[in-house]
């Protein structure tokens, strides 16, 4: 019985298959684990309105190096804002360390440059945060919040790119499990084209475009959310309406799209375990986001009158700084960050080189 498995093709750069050092992956994980609390506490700072609790920068109430712990924990707003700064410093150090390790050990130049971009990103992000304080500028706080999510996505991308799994060779049977035999798409991709291609080969470009588009869509949604959180006090009321509706429309598109993407990957790319799992996680996160978004509105703006008419009257009073408001709003922000990194990771796996399968012959 002869196996029809295509013989694995050696990657043209199989020397880099050994991958970067363990240190780079460990540091990338440390960076992500440091950045998530940083983004989370940043979200808390915005929710509590504590961004100006410490009026100076880069010092804290005149202290350049060490702000006394007793003073730090004595006032809630100062605790949050100074804590955010300390976390930022830790993330800065981790970013520099990662960039050095990548520069020294990673054979892929674009990954080395990504490490340097992360350093630049953390510097710019810290500076934006500082300028927001010095200028007491809500617009800068908005930009600071949006860049934070980009940085978090970059850190997560570095985790993926430095992982062993990324460098590991795929099993030779990959092409079979990806639907070569079961999928109806075994016919030539186009009339006269080569027959017998796997789904990944036929639909791969569409998968790449779709997952990249999803990551962009989730980021757009994060930016729209930031507009709702950083309202300029003298802005026209029209803008809020625009942001709310855009946020709702993109939420619907992203949540619906994520479910569709997951079903599509499950059906057509059943062998791609990592993209499939990430697509499932993204779909779950974005559905949870819909619920958290509704709770965020409820705890910030109350139960809408139309909801009292059509759903149920709710005797609810919004409480500024109440635990419901803090939990709902900050969870919504945090889940947004997690959705973004999941979408980025999904896109990266979709874009991963297809090295274990034979390349399609060009059309005659």
């Amino acid at each position: 019985m002869s196996s029809q498995r295509p013989s694995p093709i050696r990657h043209p750069t199989s020397d880099i298959r050994q991958g970067p050092s363990r240190w780079s992956h460990g540091l990338a994980w440390a960076l992500v684990c440091g950045t998530f609390p940083l983004v989370f506490v940043g979200g808390l700072v915005t929710t509590y309105g504590a961004g100006m609790a410490v009026p100076d920068w880069p010092s804290t109430f005149g202290y350049w190096v060490y702000y006394p712990l007793r003073s730090w924990i004595a006032v809630q707003d100062v605790f949050l804002e100074h804590g955010h700064r300390v976390l930022g410093q830790i993330v800065g150090v981790l970013t520099i360390a990662l960039a050095i390790v990548l520069w020294r050990s990673d054979p892929r130049r674009f990954v080395r440059w990504l490490g340097l971009t992360a350093v630049l990103g953390v510097v710019v992000q810290g500076t934006l945060g500082g300028l927001r304080v010095i200028g007491n500028d809500v617009l800068l706080a908005d930009v600071h919040g949006c860049v934070a999510q980009l940085f978090f996505a970059l850190a997560a991308a570095l985790v993926t790119l430095t992982s062993r799994a990324w460098h590991a060779a795929r099993p030779a049977a990959y092409a079979e499990t990806s639907g070569l035999r079961t999928s109806p798409i075994t016919a030539p991709a186009r009339p006269g084209g080569p027959a017998g291609l796997s789904c990944r080969q036929v639909l791969g470009p569409a998968l790449k475009r779709t997952t990249a588009g999803m990551a962009v869509l989730v980021y757009v949604q994060v930016v729209l959310g930031a507009q709702l959180r950083h309202l300029l006090r003298d802005a026209s009321p029209v803008w809020f309406v625009v942001w709310v509706w855009l946020h709702l429309i993109v939420a619907g598109l992203a949540a619906g799209g994520a479910i569709g993407l997951w079903l599509w990957i499950r059906r057509r790319f059943s062998g791609m375990a990592r993209p499939r799992r990430r697509a499932a996680l993204l779909a779950v996160l974005l559905e949870v986001q819909i619920v958290l978004g509704a709770l965020t509105w409820l705890t910030n703006y109350g139960w809408p009158e139309w909801a009292a008419d059509y759903i149920w009257p709710l005797n609810y009073t919004v409480c500024t700084g109440g635990w419901q408001q803090i939990v709902a709003t900050t969870s919504h922000v945090a889940a947004g960050s997690l959705s973004l990194v999941t979408a980025v990771s999904l896109a990266l796996w979709a874009w991963r080189p297809e090295d274990a399968e034979p390349r399609a012959a060009p059309n005659p």
Binding site: V75, V78, V124, E305, C319
Partner: protein
């Protein structure tokens, strides 16, 4: 022998992945440049000093000249300062020391003393000028209060009177259930006092502003009064209205005894009788069963009435003169059990007794200077009836 040039691993990898190295480099460089530019750009863009918006709501721009606007703006700035540096005119009854923590940009110190409380907690809905047209306003029902008219819905004072400090404090602490107005129970008492004073400041300033704008339009002049005359004829009478508020406050008397089921049922039955009487006028708006479905469905508060023309065309024409679109008032549905002015029996007593100012909800009870259509006991019976509906 010539050595063949071996492609670098990155080139090979890129060839395998389909990623163009140049594109990655260019993207990274572009991103860096963009971030750097953004940092440089925004570093020179500090916030401008906050200013009050002139109250031109509902005013035909053709009927007031820019020079008149400027004159009013200057006079107001001399009297009341700016949002960052407010002033309290003589005899205005405003306490500048109390105002300080609420005014100015948002900030804090190492002891946790906050400044800019109004901008932190209120301006996003009520606007920096207290015009009720902050960034979120148009999506809220009802719209946030426009402080500039000096009219506040939930007070303990007689019809037409200003609210007391305690009334404003109560709304800040309690919030307005079923709306976007939050409870600020987490704030310290001195912070609440500062916010109350700042709301009073915006109201007094707003009323003086309305007075001056009306004056320049009526007289068709630049500004026909000196600062001293403005203080005497504009500020002082308004300040006096605010000062009189505590003397016009109503304290709910003790309710009639309802400690047995029979007494309670009798009180509810009496309340039902009063509820449907012509004098009390409850049914007209709240409907026969208290479901908020009375025959009067075209109801508007004082902030929206001027936006309503007799015809649809006139309404559309008026809409251009206002920041926020026309919004109807909906009578409360008692069965939902959501009472915006507070759900304690005493709160409901006050709503019936002194009404809800600026809305079609009239004052039905006795108050200083008013006899009222219902006696205190009658009001309590109606309160019990309304409470019985909400518990059904």
């Amino acid at each position: 022998m010539m050595r063949s040039k071996t492609p670098s691993p990155i080139v090979l990898h890129a060839a395998a992945t389909g990623i163009r190295v140049g594109a990655v480099r260019r993207s990274a460089a572009g991103l860096c440049a963009l971030l750097a530019l953004a940092a440089i750009w925004f570093s020179g863009c500090g916030p401008e000093e906050a200013s009050f918006r002139l109250n031109l709501e509902g005013r035909d721009p053709a009927k007031i000249r820019p020079v008149q606007n400027e004159a009013v703006r200057d006079a107001l700035q001399k009297l009341f300062g700016t949002p960052d540096k407010p002033l309290a005119p003589d005899d205005s009854g405003l306490d500048l020391a109390l105002l300080e923590p609420a005014s100015g940009p948002i900030g804090g110190d190492a002891q946790g003393r906050q400044t800019g409380l109004y901008r932190r907690y209120c301006a996003v809905c009520h606007g920096t000028s207290g015009d009720g047209a902050g960034p979120t306003a148009s999506m809220l029902t009802p719209y946030p209060r426009d402080f500039r008219s000096g009219v506040f819905k939930y007070t303990s004072t007689a019809s037409g009177a200003k609210p007391t400090r305690d009334d404003l404090t109560g709304v800040l602490l309690r919030g307005v259930p079923g709306t976007a107005m939050p409870s600020h129970i987490q704030l310290r008492s001195e912070e609440i006092n500062a916010l109350v004073e700042y709301v009073r400041y915006l109201s007094v300033r707003g009323q003086v502003e309305t007075y001056l704008l009306q004056l320049v339009v009526d007289e068709d002049a630049y500004l026909p009064l000196s600062m001293k005359e403005i203080l005497e004829e504009g500020v002082a009478p308004i300040a006096q209205q605010w000062a009189q508020a505590p003397s016009l406050a109503v304290t709910p008397p003790p309710p009639p005894k309802t400690d047995t089921a029979e007494l309670w049922a009798a009180s509810v039955a009496r309340g039902r009788e009063l509820y449907v009487t012509k004098d009390a006028q409850c049914v007209k708006c709240h409907g026969p069963e208290g479901a908020g479905d009375g025959e009067d469905s075209e109801l508007y508060d004082d902030w929206n009435k001027p936006k309503k023309g007799l015809t649809a065309e006139r309404t559309a024409e008026l809409a251009r003169l206002y920041t926020l679109p026309l919004q109807k008032v909906r009578p409360r549905n008692f069965r939902e059990g959501v009472f915006r002015g507070g759900s304690r029996p005493e709160d409901l007593y006050l709503r019936i007794c002194v009404g809800i100012k600026g809305t079609p909800m009239p004052a039905a009870g006795p108050a200083p200077g008013a006899r009222g259509v219902l006696t205190p006991d009658d009001i309590w019976h109606v309160v019990h009836y309304v409470l019985s509906l909400s518990r059904e």
